[in-house]
Amino acid sequence: MKWYMLTLVGKDRPGIVAHVTSALFEGGCNLGETSMLRLGGNFTIMMMVSFNGNKHALQDMITGVAESLGLQVHIDAIDAKLHQHIEPDVSITVYGADRAGIVAKVTGALSEVGFHILDLESDVGGTEAQPIYVMYIDGKANEGIEAVEATLDLIRQEGIEVHLTPIDTMVG
């Protein structure tokens, strides 16, 4: 079986996931890890699909349902495996008045101390007049949590609220 990354994006409406995944199931595909969420009124899907055929066959399988739902489709053959999770040891939340460059500033600082982002989601709340930016990051502090705390202190001095919580996974 080969793995493909299937990406679908389009105007949100109820039933997208059911229609898309039914078409894949009926076409003989299996799903691996997926991420599906609504962003700005669009519904976005990224999923690992295992399929014993080529990219064109997968494209043909999904085109009908994608067109009927108004979704853009993108398919990549990928080198992928399941059961390759990396356990995060730090959770970081960031918020502040929305302004250009928050993500670049925070993630740039994290990158310099070897922080490996495993999961990131961000959102804009507040009002149109006073938007607030909120970001959640889970990751692995490859050079230690103290190094991450030190670099986040510099970010805090610029008026961005940053909270770090160590993740100590309890295995029982």
């Binding site: 918020y95 309890m170 295995v171």
Partner: protein, 165 residues
């Protein structure tokens, strides 16, 4: 001592409610020694419950002494454990020897008061908190046929952890 085989989900035995222990004999203590060795053989494992090795008896072992800087009671043999009081709530990440390659967030009581017997049938009372209380609640769930999968909450959308009182 013998290393026991840890059952993994979806083994149906993990969903069975365990029976109270009534005989505190050498056979029980030999089983407990094997169970403890099995727990210690698992990387990072700080607790184990008898049903995880296919024995549906109300027996739990917890030892979080490997974690620095936390309040804890060391090695605990908890037989017929009963959590009598709960206080506070905390979200924390859990994994399980019976659920490989998956971890998730679970809400647990922050502090608990616990009554349990030891391997000789003596009753003990414990007040515990934080990581140790989480481990005990996770293991006691096994005795009721519950996995942390039954209590998963979103990995996201909890902006900041509540301040501990």
């Amino acid at each position: 001592m013998t290393l026991l085989t840890v059952l993994t989900y979806p083994d149906p035995q993990l969903k069975i409610e365990s029976e109270p222990v009534s005989k505190f004999d050498d056979a029980l203590r030999i089983f407990i020694a094997d169970l403890e060795q099995t727990m210690r053989a698992s990387p990072g494992g700080v607790g184990i419950a008898a049903p995880q090795v296919g024995c549906t008896q109300r027996i739990v072992i917890v030892d979080v002494s490997s974690k620095p800087k936390i309040q804890q009671h060391g090695r605990l043999i908890l037989i017929n454990p009963e959590i009598e009081q709960w206080e506070g709530m905390a979200k924390g990440r859990e994994g399980c020897m019976s659920v490989p390659d998956f971890t998730g967030n679970v809400i647990r009581a922050e502090r608990i008061h616990l009554k349990a017997q030891d391997e000789f049938g003596e009753f003990h009372q414990y007040d515990m908190q934080g990581y140790e209380a989480r481990a005990v609640q996770h293991e006691c769930d096994h005795l009721d046929g519950l996995l942390f999968l039954d209590r998963l909450v979103s990995r996201r959308h909890d902006l900041f952890p509540r301040k501990k009182v």
